[in-house]
């Protein structure tokens, strides 16, 4: 079981680096995050040694880039006919699915990890709360995992990468926006019952990220992300099982 997942993972992970796409992606990620942090959120001008302006933009950068990195995971297998090869090898669909998901997540983790100079900079200039930094990274990684699982599901729907990209983008955007503070506040202002607003917002990828970003490790938040990942992979499993030949 583990060996098969590892084999699928290794192939998929390496295939990211077989083409220049991986490097374009990593550069795009760093440029976007850097621009948002320094240019828009005014990281230096705030004169505070914390990474709030850095983490604040992660959901929006992921929104754009994760669908792009996951759109081919299953769509390419269908388009090239390799799905017939992969699923007639002595592995289960779950092993293939988990291997692919972990490869895509690990790739995002590398992008996220390569932002470490900003932590060093902050530590050099001031005295940031290491716990909060750790929580921010943990939250960002979990958020990326959930977005990746959504991308895996979207990619499993058809042989078209475009459909995979747009579906993942739409799903992730919806799950972000329902918990985005300005939107939540606006909706609450329309006289919608607070309980309903809060219930919907609590399903959002955003609200759970917010609390982790503030340095609070709540097992509810971690459980939420794991739940989203498991649900999305299960959905991808059902779709692939039923439509693999089409």
């Amino acid at each position: 079981m583990m060996k098969n997942i590892k084999t699928v993972f290794a192939r998929e992970f390496k295939s990211y680096f077989d083409s220049p796409v991986a490097y374009v992606f990593l550069v795009a990620f760093l440029v976007l995050v850097g621009f948002m942090t320094f240019g828009v959120a005014m990281f230096y001008e705030r004169r505070q040694a914390d990474l709030t302006p850095f983490f604040f933009w992660h959901p929006w950068v992921y929104l754009l880039l994760i669908p792009a990195s996951t759109m081919g995971l299953w769509a390419d297998e269908r388009r090239n006919g390799t799905i017939e090869l992969l699923l007639t090898l002595p592995i289960t669909l779950w092993e293939a699915l988990i291997g692919k998901f972990l490869a895509a997540w690990a790739f995002i983790a590398i992008a996220l990890g390569s932002t470490f100079p900003i932590v060093l900079t902050t530590a050099w200039l001031g005295d940031p709360d290491c716990g909060a930094v750790f929580c921010g990274y943990l939250g960002s990684l979990l958020l990326a995992g959930a977005a990746t699982a959504i991308g895996v599901f979207a990619s499993s729907l058809s042989r078209s990468q475009v459909i995979g990209f747009v579906t993942a983008l739409a799903l992730t955007f919806t799950l972000l926006i329902i918990g985005f503070d300005p939107v939540v506040n606006a909706v609450a202002g329309w006289g919608v019952p607070a309980a309903l607003v809060n219930a919907v917002a609590s399903c959002s990828l955003m609200s759970h990220f917010e609390s982790l970003r503030r340095g609070v490790v709540d097992f509810g938040d971690i459980g939420y992300y794991i739940g989203v990942i498991v649900f999305m992979l299960a959905a991808a499993q059902v779709v692939t099982e039923n439509r693999k030949a089409s």
């Binding site: 084999t7 290794a10 077989d18 090239n80 390799t82 017939e84 090869l85 002595p90 693999k244």
Partner: protein, 248 residues
């Protein structure tokens, strides 16, 4: 040991419906060790659908198949470990090199590290891929791509080999090479080859079944099939068997 136990591949009343359309209407046959079975039929007869059911890629509507005694519907992983499969159009991961691709297949087949390396080297020699081993599959000619996919099917020296149109689109020399490779391996394997190229039957097959419109029309040695028409020609027999329902 009775004769049936020698049958490494058994297909038992396989049926497949796509909506209202019956693509495969109950096909049964079996293949034993040392046999090369030609699976003949016109385009759209249900050949690929049947192969996909045998290999567990798509589930049958009813019926089943078993490979080396493992039922494909109830014990798919064990059954899949026993056969090698060359799907139609010989798909492979185009951005990988031949060597990396075969190493991946070896890993999935349970050969890691040194054992995997040995298997890959052996199969590269066997499939005559030595001079392209380090190239990405994308850059190869169709003949080499076909052989790369053929190599992944025989890497683990399977008891059962299932090939969907293995020589389709190849030039005469490439066809010759593939057929030679099939003959070299046929002694200790059960092999099934789907094709609509009738010359294939004379070239490699010890037995052939003919299907049309999802039904089995004939099952016999090439000589027996030829004897079904006074002309003694396989293409005439094939036409008689597969075109009657169209009323031509």
């Amino acid at each position: 040991m009775n004769k049936e136990d020698n049958k490494m591949l058994k297909v038992d009343n396989l049926k497949k419906n796509f909506g209202d359309f019956q693509a495969v209407k109950g096909i049964s046959f079996s293949v034993g060790k040392g046999e090369v079975l030609g699976f003949l039929g016109p385009n759209g007869a249900g050949k690929s659908t049947t192969m996909r059911m045998i290999t567990g890629f798509i589930p049958p509507t009813s019926g089943t198949a078993s490979v080396c005694g493992h039922d494909i519907t109830t014990d798919p992983v064990a059954a899949k470990a026993c056969f090698g499969y060359l799907p139609e159009n010989a798909p492979s991961y185009r951005s990988m090199t031949v060597e990396d691709f075969l190493t991946f297949i070896a890993g999935v087949r349970g050969f890691h590290g040194k054992a995997g390396k040995e298997k890959v080297e052996a199969v590269i020699a066997k499939a005559r891929l030595s001079n392209v081993a380090k190239q990405t599959i994308d850059t190869l000619s169709k003949g080499y791509r076909q052989r790369t996919c053929f190599a992944q099917a025989i890497l683990h020296d399977p008891k059962v080999l299932i090939m969907d149109e293995p020589t389709d689109g190849l030039d005469p020399n490439q066809k010759f090479v593939v057929r030679e490779m099939i003959k070299e391996m046929s002694a200790d394997k059960a092999i099934i080859i789907s094709t609509h190229i009738l010359e294939e039957v004379d070239a490699v097959c010890t037995r052939a079944v003919v299907i049309a419109h999802g039904e089995l029309k004939a099952d016999g040695t090439p000589a027996e099939l030829k004897a079904m028409d006074p002309s003694g020609k396989l293409d005439v027999v094939f036409r008689n068997l597969t075109m009657e329902k169209e009323g031509v």
